[in-house]
């Protein structure tokens, strides 16, 4: 066994894990506030990728620079989904909450297909082929940037929730919905904002992924599943846990290449998931939100 190979795998796992974390943070936030699972999460990320793609192709602006715009657009998308669909189903039994969001995903996915066709799009951005070398170990520059930005964005969201007024309201609504209503918080608006924020996080992750992988309308679903696993690992509604969960999953998947074929990678993730749910259902990092 080549030790460089091991190191290479670990680094790749960590870098990818950061992105997993950012995607999952959005899902975790939405779950934390409303107790709802966003089954359209992956598709929202794909929408983010498309926005970023078109900005890059039509205006020539690099995905890293258009990040804020992409996040804003997907924020609006999330806000609208919440305002039109999710707010109406919050009091439904859980079984009935599943379908509308699955359907939202279906609509988003096929809207992308209808508007932009099925092609795999993989634009070559300025940095998409750049690499750094530390001895024989390669670090992918776009992955590194994505990782750093993912950590920054997650920290940003965390600080936003801790320090700002809206953030505190979101946390209040998340802790106790009835209580929040009683003290005069407009919970519907808070819900809209937090769904929007969760969506924006995943949209931003989409923009960061654009230089890394080919974009097509049908790739959302896998990311939804990955985000589920990460969220369970980190604990539902626990943002820092989601980030850490992302890193763990990234490394675990990456290192599984040592003894398993790529097609069985997910078995590792799902097994971790089941074990965590059995023995530590509150997540690995139970504690403060």
């Amino acid at each position: 066994m080549d030790p460089h190979y091991l190191l290479q795998l670990a680094i790749q796992g960590i870098l990818l894990g950061g992105l997993y974390g950012l995607i999952a943070v959005g899902l975790s936030l939405i779950f934390g506030v409303m107790g709802i699972i966003n089954f359209a999460h992956g598709q929202m990320m794909v929408m983010g990728m498309y926005v970023s793609y078109w900005i890059f192709v039509l205006l020539g602006i690099d995905p890293y620079l258009s990040l804020i715009v992409v996040a804003a657009v997907i924020f609006v998308l999330g806000y609208l989904v919440q305002a039109t669909v999710v707010n109406r189903i919050l009091d439904y039994p859980e079984a009935m909450q599943v379908l509308p969001l699955v359907a939202v995903g279906l609509v988003l996915e096929n809207t992308a297909l209808l508007l932009w066709g099925p092609d795999y799009r993989s634009p070559q951005t300025a940095l998409s082929l750049e690499t750094l070398w530390i001895g024989p170990v390669m670090i992918d520059v776009s992955r590194l940037i994505a990782f750093v930005l993912a950590i920054l964005i997650t920290t940003g969201i965390f600080v936003f929730l801790k320090k700002t007024r809206t953030g505190k309201r979101i946390r209040a609504a998340s802790d106790n919905r009835m209580g929040a209503i009683l003290v005069g918080i407009n919970v519907n608006r808070i819900n809209n904002a937090s769904f929007g924020l969760g969506a924006a996080a995943t949209g931003a992750a989409g923009a960061l992924l654009l230089p890394l992988m080919p974009l097509s309308p049908h790739m959302g679903h896998d990311f939804t599943l990955t985000a589920f696993i990460v969220v369970i690992l980190g604990g539902m509604g626990n943002l820092i846990g989601a980030l850490a969960g992302g890193l763990i999953l990234g490394v675990a998947e990456s290192l599984s290449a040592l003894f398993l074929p790529a097609t069985l990678k997910q078995v590792v993730s799902f097994s971790i998931l089941i074990i965590i749910m059995l023995f530590r259902p509150q997540g690995l990092f139970a504690g403060k939100k």
């Binding site: 990818l16 795999y120 998409s128 690499t131 992924l209 992988m213 080919p214 790529a262």
Partner: protein
């Protein structure tokens, strides 16, 4: 009539016929010399049909054509045609005088057989995966089916059946076998006498079984898995090459290239997508390679799921194995990830030799990967760029859809031509006649590399073969893919092997 401005002139076969014979003599002649009028009207009818087709080629599909026939309620004759066109608000036009005149004249003078005999419709069901993960390919194939049918119609339809027109019924398998089956059943219900499609082997299997159940001929334009034709089905035919044929071609070209260049790669890694085609193809390739005794050691076989987003760990593994060659069996999408990752991780290779799969020659892949995809060798059933059939079809395809006729679309195009040829020879739209004619197919005028299309007792095309293509330097990315073997089809004499490292280009 179909010009985009202003009111339109009514058109019908009678007007021209009357001009030719002279208006004065025309109506009396209906009574006095019905046979010659009959002949004359036949000629002018054919002319009108061609003219309409020409209009359509210039202006795009008609929105609506109203036909005044003497027996409109049966909607036979040329019939009522409705299509979505470019201009949704275009005025409806009715061609009256000429045709009505004929209608009246015909019904009173006993010529009705004339319009009766004019084009009947023969319906062909085209089922392609136009949504779902393989939609890129499916949409191209559907377009090629449509174009082939249009061209046949423009050229006078099925002549042995009085210029009968082909009508393509469209189905979408959504890339799922059960949907493909249900769609096939729907098209059969709508009157399809032949089915074609469907790219995916799984869907092909589902439709082939249905075709056997319903006794409707099924021509697979693309679908490679051997098993489909191993069930002894009587109604299924495959224009595409079998996986076995693909493998044979790959090994043959591999030998020839290494001998010609005097370079012997010692080790290799096989990668493939974990789907029926990827697994069947790479498995067959591994077996074939072992049997052929070609002295190359396969150190690993790396499989990854269809639609994978990240191959960095797999490539890290490849790098640690230090192979000379990679044999990828891929799908559009993962080929791009694989190549970029090979570049980023600086994996030294003699080259990439694809034993037969998409992902290495599509224009957008060639464009996106640019220098990185240069010198990739691909064994593939390919279009025959030297044939006039291909050149014409490609030009028309590019004009109509702004994309080139790639190998899958060209096979889809061939499929429709083969069906039309069989119906032409059968002179009938009955299933058994078409099957009998298909079995005797010997079709040369097709746009792909290979001999004439002939089906063996299993329904496989024995004329199908592969070519070896290489992506070579050319300022125009559309011209980079060149046939290098076999000699009779080659576009470039030079083969670059081993290729320079990815990062030194």
């Amino acid at each position: 009539m179909a010009t985009s401005s202003g009111p339109v002139e009514p058109v019908g076969p009678v007007g021209p016929a009357a001009v030719i014979s002279g208006h004065q003599d025309f109506y009396p002649a209906l009574l006095e010399a019905p046979d010659s009028i009959h002949l004359l009207l036949e000629i002018t009818t054919a002319f009108v049909v061609k003219w309409l087709a020409a209009q359509e080629a210039v202006d795009g599909p008609f929105k609506r054509i109203a036909i005044a026939d003497y027996n409109d309620n049966k909607k036979e004759g040329i019939g009522m045609k409705k299509k979505a066109g470019k201009e949704l608000n275009r005025r409806t036009f009715i061609k009256t005088s000429g045709a009505i005149g004929l209608g009246l004249a015909a019904s009173s003078f006993g010529v009705p057989t004339l319009l009766r005999a004019a084009p009947t419709k023969i319906k062909i069901g085209s089922i392609q995966p136009v949504t779902g993960p393989l939609a890129v390919i499916g949409q191209g194939q559907r377009k090629a089916n449509i174009m082939a049918a249009r061209q046949i119609n423009a050229a006078g339809g099925i002549k042995s059946m009085g210029g009968a027109q082909l009508e393509l019924l469209l189905g979408d398998s959504e890339s799922k076998p059960e949907v493909g089956r249900q769609e096939a059943d729907r098209l059969i219900k709508d009157g399809a006498v032949v089915l074609q499609g469907p790219f995916q082997s799984g869907t092909a299997m589902a439709i082939a079984t249905l075709a056997e159940q319903r006794q409707v001929p099924f021509v697979m334009d693309v679908a490679a898995l051997d098993a489909i034709t191993q069930k002894g089905y009587q109604y299924s035919f495959r224009v595409f090459i079998t996986a076995k044929g693909l493998v044979g071609g790959a090994i043959k070209y591999l030998k020839q290239v290494t001998e010609m260049k005097g370079v012997m790669p010692k080790t290799a890694v096989v990668t493939n997508t974990a789907d029926p085609f990827g697994k069947g193809m790479s498995g067959g390739f591994l077996k074939g390679l072992e049997k052929s005794g070609f002295p190359i050691k396969i150190i690993d076989r790396i499989q990854y799921p269809l639609g994978i987003q990240d191959l960095s760990t797999e490539v890290a593994k490849i790098k640690s194995l230090k192979p000379d060659l990679i044999f990828p069996v891929s799908r559009p999408g993962d080929s791009v990830i694989l190549t970029r990752e090979l570049y980023k991780q600086r994996v030294p290779l003699m080259g990439i030799f694809c034993p037969g799969s998409p992902g290495w020659y599509e224009p957008h892949v060639v464009k996106d990967l640019d220098k990185l995809i240069l010198y990739v060798l691909v064994n593939v059933p390919w279009v025959n760029p030297n044939s006039t059939v291909y050149q014409k079809a490609n030009a028309a395809f590019y004009k109509a859809y702004n994309q080139i006729l790639d190998t899958n679309s060209a096979y889809a195009y061939t499929g429709t031509l083969v069906i039309a040829d069989a119906i032409e020879r059968a002179g009938s739209a009955r299933a058994d006649d078409i099957v009998a004619a298909l079995k005797k197919t010997n079709f040369k005028d097709h746009p792909v590399v290979g001999g004439p299309v002939q089906f063996n007792e299993k329904g496989d095309n024995i004329g199908a073969m592969t070519a070896l293509i290489q992506v070579q330097k050319d300022p125009d990315y559309l011209k980079r893919v060149k046939i290098v073997m076999p000699k009779e089809f080659a576009q470039s004499d030079e083969i670059v092997f081993p290729a320079p490292p990815l990062w030194e280009r």
